[in-house]
């Protein structure tokens, strides 16, 4: 694959380094990289790999751009809100570098399509936001013998590594099983510093480029731990687990499985489908307007209460066990949080200690703001 004069000029800062040079740039042009997710991590990954001259860039994302994405997903702009993320990403990538062959996949990666999509790529960069897809990406990379460039973020911290290479460990060697649903909050529940996925996504893009060039020491067998608050980068060694069910010496996972089930039917982002009794915002409004004696219980944190509230008693979820005596188990109780996940846990907890008349506000205060009080801010 030979570069045109325009490309030689475009990549001149690469070409003058012996570690890249013409041969390296041609490797980049011939490389086929698949980005799973065009979100916080996927944005910098796609932008930098496109700028670097990766020849074929696949982007998998089923979602549309939401205004809460814009704080960190820098490939999308305000004008893109409501558009499919792949459409927005493809447009930006082409604007940065028309030499890139962008392959959009507007679909959710699944056990049914992953191996087929992975077939046309040399390495996978994972920018997804949930455990189920991470295990799916890992297993599909191991089964396809494609390196898996991994990073994940939460609040002020991130982790990065390169999995599923010929000699190194895979994601399951590090974490054989996911946390139970609800134990580790998602970024939607716990928050994330907007620049953090930028930091980790750039690490992923760097590792992807090194793997393509075959230069330097990739993060194989090493887990990079980043703490943005102290701006500390730590590195720990991780080893391949000979008993790993996917990449070990006698693997038991030989094809893709049901990852939703593996990670708990409920998924980590929502408690939908559980037995927790729920009440809709409309029903709650009716009860309040009718002068019902119900107790509204806000299980969010005080700094969230400052944003908006629908009244009631504030007891943050983690304080609930110690402060449960403040609640009257004889009254009807409706618990709420931002989106209904923490309050579902609160309802489960209250039921477990004998509260019978307790329900969860489905969709949380965000659903209330959307359907009952449009003047209320959503967050």
């Amino acid at each position: 694959m030979s570069l045109t004069n325009e490309e030689i000029l475009r990549y001149s800062r690469h070409l003058i380094m012996p570690e890249v040079a013409l041969a390296g740039q041609e490797k980049l042009a011939a490389a086929r990289v698949l980005c799973i997710g065009a979100g916080g991590l996927g944005s910098p990954v796609a932008l930098y790999l496109a700028a670097a001259g990766v020849g074929t860039l696949g982007i998998v994302d089923f979602d549309v751009v939401d205004s809460t994405n814009l704080q960190r997903q820098v490939i999308h702009t305000t004008a893109d809100v409501g558009r499919p993320k792949v459409d927005s990403a493809v447009e930006k990538i082409r604007a940065i570098n028309p030499h890139v062959d962008v392959k959009p996949f507007r679909t959710a990666l699944s056990s049914g399509n992953a191996l087929e999509i992975f077939r046309d790529f040399d390495l996978v960069v994972d920018g997804t936001d949930n455990f189920a897809t991470r295990y799916l990406v890992n297993d599909a990379c191991v089964l396809s013998a494609i390196p898996y460039v991994y990073a994940s973020v939460f609040r002020f911290e991130g982790q990065a590594s390169v999995f599923a290479t010929a000699d190194g460990p895979c994601y399951r060697c590090l974490y054989p099983e996911p946390p139970p649903p609800g134990m580790v909050p998602s970024c939607a529940e716990g928050g994330v510093l907007g620049v953090l996925p930028g930091l980790l996504g750039v690490v992923q893009a760097t590792e992807a480029i090194k793997l393509i060039l075959g230069t330097g020491d990739p993060l194989v067998g090493r887990l990079l731990l980043v703490d943005a608050l102290s701006m500390r980068f730590r590195e720990v060694r991780i080893k391949r687990n000979p008993d790993c069910p996917v990449c070990g010496s006698s693997p038991t996972v030989r094809e893709l499985i049901d990852y939703e089930q593996f990670c708990g039917i409920r998924g980590e982002e929502s408690y939908q489908g559980t037995a927790v009794p729920e009440i809709s915002p409309e029903e709650l409004k009716q009860l309040i307007d009718g002068g019902s004696d119900l107790l509204v219980l806000d299980v969010r944190e005080p700094h969230e209460r400052e944003i908006c509230d629908i009244g009631g008693t504030l007891i943050p979820i983690d304080d609930l066990p110690a402060r449960v005596h403040e609640l009257d188990s004889g009254r009807d109780i409706v618990a709420y949080c931002k989106s209904g996940v923490r309050s579902a846990r609160a309802v489960e907890f209250l039921q477990s200690i004998g509260f019978r008349r307790v329900r969860n506000l489905s969709g949380g205060i965000n659903a209330w703001a959307e359907r009952i009080d449009p003047k209320m801010p959503r967050y």
Partner: protein, 98 residues
């Protein structure tokens, strides 16, 4: 004094900062440090180790001095750097945000 770093979700649960310190009598091992940690912060019981089996949960790992201690016996002595409080025992948990 033994220093222990906790993953973000457990810091929120225990209402502590990034690093906590515990005192350990006798041999400094993963077991004795976690026993002291759970005695001081009872809400952490069952979050790092399974309630009944007392085994490390599979989405948690232990590191010290950059090395993975997760698969070693929890009764093995921790490195001197941790026993002497120069380095923390890292308790790292899986996160999935992106």
């Amino acid at each position: 004094m033994i220093r222990v770093e906790l993953p973000a979700h457990l810091r929120t649960l225990a209402r502590v900062g990034r690093e906590v310190t515990v005192e350990v009598e006798g041999a400094v091992t993963v077991s004795s440090v976690l026993d002291a940690l759970e005695a001081r912060y009872p809400t952490l019981r069952g979050t790092i180790r399974d309630h009944t089996s007392r085994h490390r949960r599979p989405f948690i790992r232990f590191f010290a001095d950059g090395e993975d201690l997760s698969l070693a016996s929890p009764e093995e002595p921790l490195p001197a750097s941790v026993a002497q409080g120069r380095e923390p025992l890292l308790v790292i948990g899986a996160i999935a945000g992106g």
